[in-house]
């Protein structure tokens, strides 16, 4: 049986742990021949070509300009006859609708680390943490002493208690617990002599003095934010700063810089909000046995998330208008279904992406989510983890949230919010809210989407309720067949379609039904 072949970056030179993709030679979604050149990558030695290992449809998972690790996948080749048929058509439709392929012949993929999978020319480049840091670094000149103060974890914890943050301290300084306590007046200030000695070490006669540290050291230690010293950087008055969003007049405002992470998040959401006309529909599903079912399958470690991603992703192929982007009278259809899922475990809200979630089993999705959770905890999520989300799911059902209105991210058309409620009898009801861009579709379609999603989730719960009937069904049959249209594998082969293993309904589903064309 033909399988999807992953194109990985080979270890070509002994030096490199990563390479840079220079250009793709054909648009993603194109049919390619075996050995056809797919892209050029730059190693430390030379530019090398990467060729298609088999014939099929090439689906890219990295973009030109990306720095990708050796061994990582940059492309999947789906052999002819597999479900990629609809990918190809969706891809072509998307390309012809936004016209980017018709003129140049290659997709315009912005050379940035993170971007929408099919960015439109007018889309602003989404800054990532790394590039934001670089901008700030450049803006402040080459001197490392101009970056905001760095606090240890312990110092930060103590600082929060006193209402202090990194901007309460001179730029370029290192801040420890005792520095915070000193700033808060809980410890006596350092004597000028020893402090000056540290600073003089930095000055060394070449003007490289950490000027923030130097001037602060000479001045009396500032008191906490609540009673700011005149001119202290931590608490700036609104009058001195140009503002985009004017505060209510007549009320005093103390401005404090938000963490960079929060600024980025806000920017993405604000842009999503500014460019969409948001509407939402909500429905509920009683899922008394759903969690039990998941438990038996070993899928509960990420809550309901994996299952919801699994079903929603497959459903998005049937409802492509929710896996899309609106731009000035056009709809841009994403070729892949890459589902972002919101995670907030105390280190800030982040939305890592399960790429091509519609082609993965629940177990593969759980594996990816586990990896991302681990990296989230280690603060090691990389730009690759955020790459190219086309749809987002925010599951707060385990957090005691019944219902909420999720915000559509920039470059997307919809977001699914999952809330939950457990009644007195212990039965759980899930509330699914689909917020969507009304420019692309309407509430009726959104309603169909969530209802069908509910049906699929209930089917999982039903499996647990009546496992024998559904699971046993395909077993006596010698030849596999599609559980939806009942066509046999051999019959499907004649029309160049095929069966893929399915969880719900159990057994097999043919590529025709799977693509939602039944």
């Amino acid at each position: 049986m033909a399988e999807i072949v992953f194109v990985n970056i080979p270890q070509e030179t002994v030096n490199d742990e990563s390479v840079r993709i220079l250009s793709w030679k054909v648009p993603s979604g194109s049919a390619v021949e075996k050995d056809q050149q797919l892209c050029e990558v730059e190693t430390s030695k030379a530019v090398m070509d990467i060729e298609a290992p088999i014939a099929g449809t090439a689906i890219y998972t990295a973009a030109a300009g990306d720095e990708v690790a050796v061994g990582s996948t940059i492309c999947q080749i789906v052999p002819a006859g597999m479900v990629a048929v609809d990918f190809a058509t969706i891809g072509q439709a998307a390309l012809s609708s936004n016209g980017s392929a018709s003129s140049a012949g290659t997709p315009e993929i912005a050379p940035v680390a993170t971007r929408a999978p099919l960015p439109l020319a007018e889309d602003p480049v989404v800054p990532v943490a790394a590039s934001a840091a670089a901008e700030e670094y450049i803006a402040n000149g080459a001197g490392g002493d101009q970056r905001p103060a760095r606090l240890t974890a312990l110092a930060l914890k103590v600082a929060v208690e006193f209402g202090l943050d990194k901007d309460s301290f001179p730029r370029g300084s290192l801040v420890r617990r005792d520095d915070v306590l000193r700033k808060a007046g809980k410890l006596p200030p350092l004597d000028g002599g020893s402090r000056n000695r540290a600073v003089r070490n930095g000055a060394a006669g070449n003007g490289l003095t950490a000027n923030g540290a130097g001037s602060e050291a000479a001045a009396p230690i500032a008191s906490p934010v609540s009673s700011p010293a005149p001119g202290a950087k931590a608490a700036r008055s609104a009058e001195n700063e140009p503002v985009e969003n004017a505060p209510v007049t007549g009320a005093g405002v103390d401005w404090t810089d938000l963490p960079r992470r929060k600024i980025f998040e806000g920017r993405v959401l604000a842009q999503g909000h500014a460019r969409t006309v948001q509407s939402s529909v909500t429905t509920s599903v009683r899922a008394p046995r759903l969690r039990l079912r998941l438990e038996k399958q070993g899928l509960t470690s990420v809550g309901l998330g994996a299952l919801v991603i699994f079903e929603a992703a497959r459903l998005l192929r049937k409802y492509p208008e929710f896996n899309a982007i609106y731009d000035r009278g056009r709809i841009g259809q994403y070729r892949d279904v890459n589902v972002g899922w919101a995670i907030d475990g105390g280190q800030g809200l982040m939305v890592p992406v399960v790429p091509q979630a519609d082609r993965k089993t629940p177990y593969e999705i759980v594996d990816i989510m586990h990896g991302q959770i681990d990296r989230y905890i280690d603060s090691a999520l990389s730009p690759a983890d955020f790459l190219g989300g086309t749809f987002t799911i925010s599951d707060l059902s385990s957090d005691g949230i019944t219902h909420f209105h999720p915000l559509i991210s920039q470059g997307q058309a919809a977001i699914l919010g999952v809330g939950g409620e457990v009644d007195a009898s212990g039965d759980e009801t899930l509330y699914l809210t689909l917020a969507f861009d009304h420019q692309l579709t309407e509430g009726k379609k959104a309603g169909q989407f969530v209802r069908e999603l509910v049906a699929r989730l209930e089917a999982h719960a039903a499996l647990e309720a009546a496992p024998v009937a559904l699971v046993a069904a395909p077993q006596p049959v010698a030849e596999p067949y599609c559980a939806l249209c009942q066509r046999s594998g051999s019959a499907l082969l004649k029309i160049k379609e095929m069966l893929v293993r399915s969880e719900v309904p159990a057994g097999f589903v043919c590529s025709v039904c799977l693509a939602g064309q039944s």
Binding site: E17, S173, D178, N201, L208, A213
Partner: protein, 668 residues
């Protein structure tokens, strides 16, 4: 190159230089060498010489026959038994006598002595076979610069046991270098008869490498001379190497007092000796030649005896300064390997003297670590693949450098520097001082060191400590916080000594960037080869000293040291690890009071031991005891495994550096 000095004959009535036919000149030189060395034996027994003396009494005509065929600009590379070669070529009795007597007026200021001479195009060194790849490099320079000159290297039959010789024979034949190797076959290696140590045939060795071999004997000087003429003409006119076996007899001991040969065997040699036979046949002429040459030698001894003894000159002061700190701009975002490549390319473009040699360095392969990439295609003939012959690679580099070129030798893995150790330690590092600063050896030896690649015990080591502390050399270690392009630029602009550049192999693929630990920044001393400091605005609690590949791990360690333990460290990472400028390290240690040194190699007798003791010396100087506490960390004391976890466990990494610092600080 000066021409041969003329014999001074003014006080001898019966003979003048101009009266002598070419053949008579040969006899005069043979007598001169004999008189010179007989006097050396007398001086030695009078206790007027230092060390020992190797005479060529009985072998005079090897050098004499050759000298008659050389032209101005031709070069000789000789060995421990070099007096005859030098006198036959130069007639410089005064200079050589003063040298052997250890006087300032000697050709090497008395520093070299009997075995280590350099003047008028004659170079000698005391290691068997060591000068053969050097002579190949000198011959390569003649060929590259199209001088039309040739190089002749002398070896003895004892040298046939040295592997370096065979590396050289292979290369000179493959590259068609204008080099003749003359083997003086006197049947004994010091006291050991050739019959006990030599297998096979001598000339067949050269012929196996495709080198034409010639044969002659000092017992027949006339025939030797004519064969020599043919051999020299082949090397010069066809630009093809030759091998010349000259059978000869050493009539005296190898050195002083180590002759156990049977008396009757020696008597037979004496009977065959051309000077003995000449003296029997032409007693009057012989007496005149003997008297004339002895007079020259006597005057040389008298002159030398009045001259002062050799001195050591003024040593370079050990540097201990703190130049101003600065930050450099790093353009673009490029990998270490690309920046090194660009520096090499730039120098190759700008300076015709640059020549790159090493294993597998030609394009398209472009080196095991792809540093030379396509340079061989851009600069045809100036970037050459060598056989797998590390001693020859560095030896040829030494020879090119002696000829004023700028060779860049690549040793594929630093582990293999050991195969070229003799060329580095006994040749490259010695020539300049030993030859009384008449020459410089601007050879660059680039080599990757370090582990974390799973290459196992013999391809992962950091062996640079074995090459630290050779006076007159320099060792640099690159790191990605300072642009290696700048390092090479300064190196090529200023090079005046053998320089080993350690390129950590895990860093080749890394991007050159200033970006370092959050809250810290990188700055560098304003020097050709600066010390990099990773510092913050806070007073450091500890000074961490490292170089090259360890910087990365040290950065990770000080990041965690601050985050998890609220301690501030400062990293001092010198690019020039020998000679080491202690100044910046001292300044930091005076602030922190604590010194932690980490190196990837074995720590015993290592870089860390040197830094710690030097800092202690400096801090405690002039005060009663120092409050400085210190520790050092190196690889665990066993070879490196190929298996990743075991290898990581052996090497000093962020975890062990952090643990070491905490223990030093007392937080452990």
């Amino acid at each position: 190159m000066t021409s041969r000095p003329q014999l001074q004959t003014t006080t001898t009535a019966s003979l003048t230089y101009e009266d002598l036919s070419p053949d008579a000149v040969s006899w005069l030189h043979a007598f001169l060498i004999r008189s010179f060395e007989e006097r050396l034996l007398k001086l030695f027994s009078e206790g007027k010489l230092f060390g020992t003396v190797h005479t060529c009494i009985g072998q005079e005509f090897t050098g004499v026959a050759l000298a008659s065929q050389l032209i101005e600009g031709d070069l000789i590379a000789s060995n421990h038994r070099c007096h005859g070669h030098y006198l036959a070529r130069t007639s410089d009795v005064d200079g050589l006598m003063a040298e052997v007597m250890g006087r300032l007026t000697g050709i090497c200021g008395g520093r070299g002595g009997s075995q280590h001479i350099c003047a008028h195009g004659v170079f000698s060194n005391g290691v068997q076979g060591g000068m053969t790849p050097v002579s190949a490099g000198m011959a390569l320079a003649q060929k590259l610069n199209e001088t039309g000159n040739i190089v002749v290297a002398f070896i003895g039959d004892g040298t046939l046991g040295e592997g370096t010789l065979y590396e050289t024979l292979n290369v000179i034949s493959k590259w068609n270098l204008p080099l003749m190797i003359i083997l003086e076959n006197n049947l004994y290696a010091q006291s050991t008869s050739q019959t006990l140590t030599l297998a096979g045939d001598i000339c067949a060795r050269a012929e196996a490498f495709g080198i034409t071999s010639y044969h002659g004997t000092t017992a027949n000087p006339r025939q030797l001379q004519s064969t020599m003429a043919r051999a020299v003409s082949q090397v010069r006119d066809e630009v093809r190497p030759a091998f010349f076996r000259i059978d000869t007899s050493r009539l005296m001991a190898h050195s002083k007092g180590d002759d156990d040969r049977p008396k009757d065997e020696l008597a037979a040699y004496w009977a065959m000796d051309p000077i003995t036979r000449f003296t029997a046949q032409f007693p009057e002429e012989a007496a005149a030649l003997k008297a004339h040459t002895e007079e020259l030698v006597t005057r040389a001894v008298e002159a030398a005896s009045k001259a002062p003894f050799a001195n050591n000159g003024v040593d370079e002061k050990s540097v201990q300064t703190t130049p101003p700190w600065q930050q450099t701009s790093i353009e673009g975002k490029e990998r270490m390997v690309t920046r090194i490549y660009q520096a090499l390319k730039e120098h190759m473009t700008e300076d015709q003297r640059c020549f790159i040699l090493g294993e597998d360095i030609e394009g398209p392969y472009g080196g095991a670590f792809k540093v030379t990439k396509d340079l061989s295609l851009t600069f045809p003939g100036r970037v050459r693949n060598t056989p797998i012959s590390e001693a020859a690679i560095i030896g040829i580099g030494n020879g090119l450098a002696l000829m004023g070129m700028h060779p860049v030798c690549e040793i594929m893995f630093g582990d293999f520097l050991t195969l070229a150790a003799d060329q580095i330690i006994n040749h490259a590092s010695k020539f300049r001082w030993m030859y009384n600063d008449q020459v410089t050896v601007p050879v660059v030896i680039r080599t990757p060191m370090g582990g974390r690649r799973g290459y196992g015990a013999t391809h992962s080591q950091s062996l640079e400590k074995h090459f630290l502390g050779l006076p007159g050399t320099r060792v640099l270690a690159l790191h990605p916080r300072y642009d290696p392009h700048l390092v090479y630029q300064r190196l090529f602009a200023t090079i005046d000594r053998p320089t080993i550049v350690i390129e950590n192999k895990t860093m080749y693929g890394e991007y050159v960037t200033h970006e370092t630990v959050a809250g810290f920044w990188a700055e560098h001393t304003r020097e050709d080869f600066p010390t990099t400091r990773i510092r913050s605005s806070a007073k450091p609690d500890v000074t961490v000293v490292c170089y090259g590949g360890c910087l990365h791990e040290a950065e990770k360690a000080i990041d965690r040291l601050f985050e998890e333990h609220e301690l501030v460290a400062e990293i001092l990472c010198p690019i020039q690890i020998y000679p080491l400028n202690l100044g910046p390290i001292l300044d930091s240690v005076k602030q922190s009071g604590r010194l932690f040194v980490v190196e990837e190699g074995q720590a015993f007798c290592g870089f860390g031991a040197e830094v710690v003791s030097a800092v202690h010396d400096a801090v405690s100087a002039g005060s009663s005891g120092s409050a400085l506490s210190s520790a050092r960390l190196g690889a665990k004391p066993h070879p490196l495994a190929s298996s990743k976890a075991a290898e990581q466990d052996s090497l000093p990494g962020a975890d062990s550096i952090l643990a070491g610092i905490l223990e030093l600080v007392g937080h452990g």
